[in-house]
């Protein structure tokens, strides 16, 4: 098992290198002169001479070939130095770390919501296949995938905050600081992110369960006289887990990047909102680290998925 995990991890190293190189080079290739962004110059506000601009360019190493610039960046990044944000002039890691904690809280909450809603709904749809239950769950989950999060977000705020006054409209408080207010503030954004995942999870669980429920061993289990509950939740669901885990892995990988819109609407100081703001003002050092984090989170989620496969299905780990 350990050998398997190590093998998978080693395979991800070239993936991460490839991603960082692409991120680094594409940010430089965007339209607009990166010297303004990287030197933190306010275009037009300050009257820099062409000579000064040229000096900044040289200081920042922007005249070097891109592979060399990348190698320098990688060398510093390996030591935890991702440069300074051009907007705030603080180390990028100082900017990103507090926001990572925020996005993680939001992600965990949405993941829980996705699982709590998605799994039972999928199982129910499979058990009562082609009945009213199945059809309603199908309609709701299709709607859950189709409804855009920004629309849902605004509608929820108008209903739950402005009309009913149950929840505060926006903001964020850490769950470790004030659990009650934190739950109130996270309720809407986590539900929006979570229901999107729940919808996909429901669809996947339904089809995986349907396939499993028709297998011979399920019939055998039922014939042995096992309770229906244990047949469904132990025997069937465990075997239907592989495709479900795949979807969950993808969902976790997407959570960080998908949170951008929800975080912007609910004024949550997370990674997604930082990414959007940084792109708007060309804060390259911040963008580079954030894309790296998104890439890493996807890679880690994939790795965890693979490990879960191996745990659930011995055939995979011995291959």
């Amino acid at each position: 098992m350990r050998a398997y995990i190590i093998r998978r991890m080693l395979q991800f190293i070239p993936v991460i290198l490839g991603i960082t190189f692409l991120v680094y080079s594409t940010t430089l290739m965007l339209p607009g002169d990166p010297v303004y962004a990287l030197a933190g110059l306010n275009v037009g506000q300050t009257e820099y001479t062409p000579e000064q601009i040229e000096r900044f360019r040289k200081d920042l190493g922007l005249n070097d070939p891109i592979p060399i610039q990348y190698a320098n960046w990688l060398k510093n990044a390996a030591q935890g130095d991702f440069g300074e944000s051009t907007r705030t002039r603080r180390p990028v890691t100082d900017e990103v770390t507090p926001r990572l904690k925020v996005t993680l809280q939001l992600s965990v909450a949405s993941l829980l919501i996705a699982i709590v809603i998605g799994l039972p709904a999928g199982v129910a749809a499979a058990l009562w296949r082609d009945t009213v239950v199945d059809r309603s769950i199908t309609v709701i989950s299709v709607a859950g995938v189709a409804v855009p999060s920004f629309w849902l977000g605004i509608m929820m705020i108008l209903l739950f905050s402005v009309r009913l006054q149950w929840l505060p409209p926006s903001g964020f408080v850490s769950v470790f600081e004030d659990p009650v207010r934190s739950m109130k503030l996270l309720a809407m954004p986590a539900t929006i992110l979570g229901t999107g995942g729940a919808a996909i999870l429901t669809r996947q669980t339904r089809s995986a369960m349907l396939e499993v429920l028709n297998q011979d061993y399920i019939r055998t289990a039922r014939a042995k006289g096992l309770s229906s509950r244990s047949v469904v939740w132990l025997h069937a669901l465990k075997n239907a887990m592989l495709p479900i885990i795949t979807i969950l892995g993808l969902f976790v990988g997407n959570l960080l990047s998908g949170a951008a819109i929800v975080e912007t609407i609910f004024a949550i100081p997370g990674l997604g909102r930082l990414l959007v703001a940084s792109i708007g003002i060309r804060d390259f050092p911040v963008i580079q680290l954030l894309v790296l984090i998104v890439a890493l989170s996807t890679v880690i989620a994939t790795l965890l998925t693979d490990v879960a496969y191996a745990m659930l299905d011995p055939r995979i780990r011995y291959r």
Partner: protein
């Protein structure tokens, strides 16, 4: 008339529906990104002009504003106590007043810091400054007499030595201070005695006093704190302002607490500020900001034009009009080195064929008014309308076409930047130009790409940019300095607009006499906007500030550009 209304309503409806789609599709993300570029939600903003201080600091009874300025002296004394939350559109990047990066930083910095000079003494509006008075000994020597007994939050006395330390820090090239160039005329500061700071200049600079009047760029930091915190001063601000920093959660909120030793007093001699605590929350989405105001989660805030009429009808809220020109949402910016816009008559034909009132109504829901001047804030001391500036007159536009040798019109390519309002208004221009025979193809690029394409460096191909400008300024040299000089960054042609203009611009900065300055800028405005027609502001936006009805002294929003004068608000 009716027919025309219907026509434009149709054009606007078409682009409006697209706007709605754009807003929804990009979600608030697009708005947030744009806002971050330096303008506010309404104006977008291609320029650092959004950073212009004082843009909203003016009483503006004149100009195109229809609201008389509220009387400052009549503001009653308030009641101390209470907490308030501001729902603001922009986040803060740094709390170091010498290196702010976006216009949004002003509100945050102004709670914590004071500047040396008061705008009041600049005949603009009652405001606060740390200097009692100053005397221009000769064109290159200014002696500032400082107010006595003022202390920074950490107890360090504010004195001439502190002024010297602050100015030296701004002038240090290693800091890359935001206002290094605005203060570049200063050669050195001498601390003559405890309360006299002598500024020795390299050259006369009439715009210097204005630059020293803004906390954004030139707020005074405690020298002790500068020593103690070094580079970390940006998250440990220590000023002389009405509030002290309690905590700053980046992206979420800045919480400030009453400075019990603040030096400013109200009309009855009570100590300011009234409020015990203020939270400034950046909320990028306009609808959500408005929701916060409706629920009372926010005490005051800025909202989008689309929500204004709802806010005015809401009995829990009070809406205060700001100064016109706080933003300039529609500007024709020409590159007069590129044909066909190298022909002054054709430039005029372009400008005279546009009816700004249509755009004010359909794009800005009448929260903007047609501009009648140039880039000085309407109502401020240096403002005068520009007499022969472009107005909407199709017959005149056709005459200019004839005079320019293109009686049947011409084809041209125009650049615009990605923004719902810019797209909408450019589309309306297009229809208007078509009516006089000018066929325009519009290229839209993301904002910083568009700025580079139009202003360089690199190949420039566009003769005209449909854009916006951060705001007008109470200092008449602000826009001319960054856009009208022959080497200014925002002069896309990089050559003189007219033979005498650069001379005039230089002279206007060298005299300290207001009457003389005013008449010089009248001449400059008239050359640039009317005669040469290379930079034409079409609209002045008049922002709206929203308060819960239990907030007192909301009139201060007019003078304070919204929430700059936070010390004057109180809870009833």
């Amino acid at each position: 008339m009716n027919e025309r209304d219907n026509y434009w309503t149709r054009v606007a409806a078409r682009s409006l529906s697209r706007r709605r789609v754009l807003i929804l599709a990009g979600s608030s993300a697009a708005a947030a990104a744009l806002a971050a570029c330096g303008g506010d939600d309404d104006s977008g903003g291609t320029s650092g002009g959004g950073n212009t201080p004082g843009a909203g600091n003016t009483p503006g009874s004149g100009g195109t504003s229809n609201a008389p300025a509220p009387a400052w002296g009549a503001m009653p004394a308030g009641k101390p106590g209470g907490k308030a939350t501001i729902a603001y559109s922009l986040d803060v990047g740094t709390l170091d007043p010498h290196t702010p990066g976006s216009g949004g930083d002003s509100y945050y910095l102004n709670t914590l810091f004071n500047a040396l000079v008061s705008l009041d003494q600049l005949k603009v509006s009652p405001a606060v400054g740390l200097a009692e008075k100053w005397e221009i000994a000769d064109p290159t020597t200014i002696n500032f007499t400082l107010k006595k007994g003022i202390k920074f939050h950490d107890g360090t006395p504010f004195n001439a030595e502190a002024v010297k330390v602050n100015i030296n820090r701004i002038l240090d090239p290693a800091l890359k201070a935001t206002w290094a160039s605005q203060l570049s005329a200063i050669d050195r500061v001498e601390a003559v005695d405890e309360s006299t700071a002598k500024f020795v200049l390299k050259r006369p600079d009439a715009a210097l006093l204005f630059a020293l009047s803004s906390t954004y760029g030139a707020g005074m930091i405690s020298p002790t704190a500068l020593n103690k915190f070094g580079k970390d001063i940006k998250s440990n601000p220590v000023g002389t302002g009405a509030f002290t920093l309690d905590r700053w959660v980046p992206g979420s909120q800045v919480v400030v607490k009453k400075n019990p030793n603040y030096w400013e007093k109200d009309s009855k001699g009570n100590v300011l500020p009234y409020l015990d605590e203020v939270t400034i929350s950046p909320i990028p989405d306009a609808t959500v900001r408005y929701a916060n105001l409706q629920t009372g989660d926010a005490t005051m805030g800025v909202i989008d034009s689309k929500d204004v009429s709802a806010a005015e009808k809401n009995s829990d809220l009070v809406v205060i009009k700001g100064v016109p020109g706080a933003a300039v949402p529609a500007v024709l910016h020409y590159n007069f080195a590129i044909g066909p816009m190298d022909n002054a008559n054709l430039r005029k034909a372009i400008a005279w064929s546009i009816d700004p009132s249509v755009i004010a109504k359909n794009v800005y829901f009448d929260l903007a008014v047609p501009a009648d001047g140039a880039m000085t804030t309407p109502g401020s001391w240096a403002f005068s309308p520009v007499k022969d500036r472009p107005r909407y007159d199709v017959a005149k536009a056709k005459e200019f076409l004839k005079a320019g040798g293109k009686p049947d019109g011409f084809d041209m390519e125009v650049i615009a930047y990605t923004s719902p309002t810019i797209s909408q208004q450019t589309e309306i221009y297009q229809e208007m130009w078509k009516k006089v025979g000018i066929n325009v193809k519009v290229t839209t690029q993301e904002v910083s790409a568009a700025v580079t394409s139009f202003f360089g460096p690199g190949t420039q191909t566009f003769p005209l940019m449909s854009t916006s400008w951060g705001g007008t300024s109470v200092e008449p040299s602000t826009t001319p300095t960054i856009a009208w000089g022959k080497e200014a960054f925002y002069n896309p042609a990089k050559k003189p607009i007219s033979p005498e203009l650069d001379d005039l611009l230089a002279k206007a900065r060298q005299t300290y006499d207001d009457a003389e300055r005013k008449s010089m800028y009248e001449k400059i405005d008239s050359i640039v906007v009317a005669d040469q027609c290379v930079f034409v502001p079409l609209l002045y936006a008049q922002p709206r500030y929203v308060f819960r009805k239990n907030v007192g002294n909301t009139e201060a929003a007019y003078y304070g550009g919204g929430f700059l004068r936070l010390q004057n608000y109180y809870l009833k």
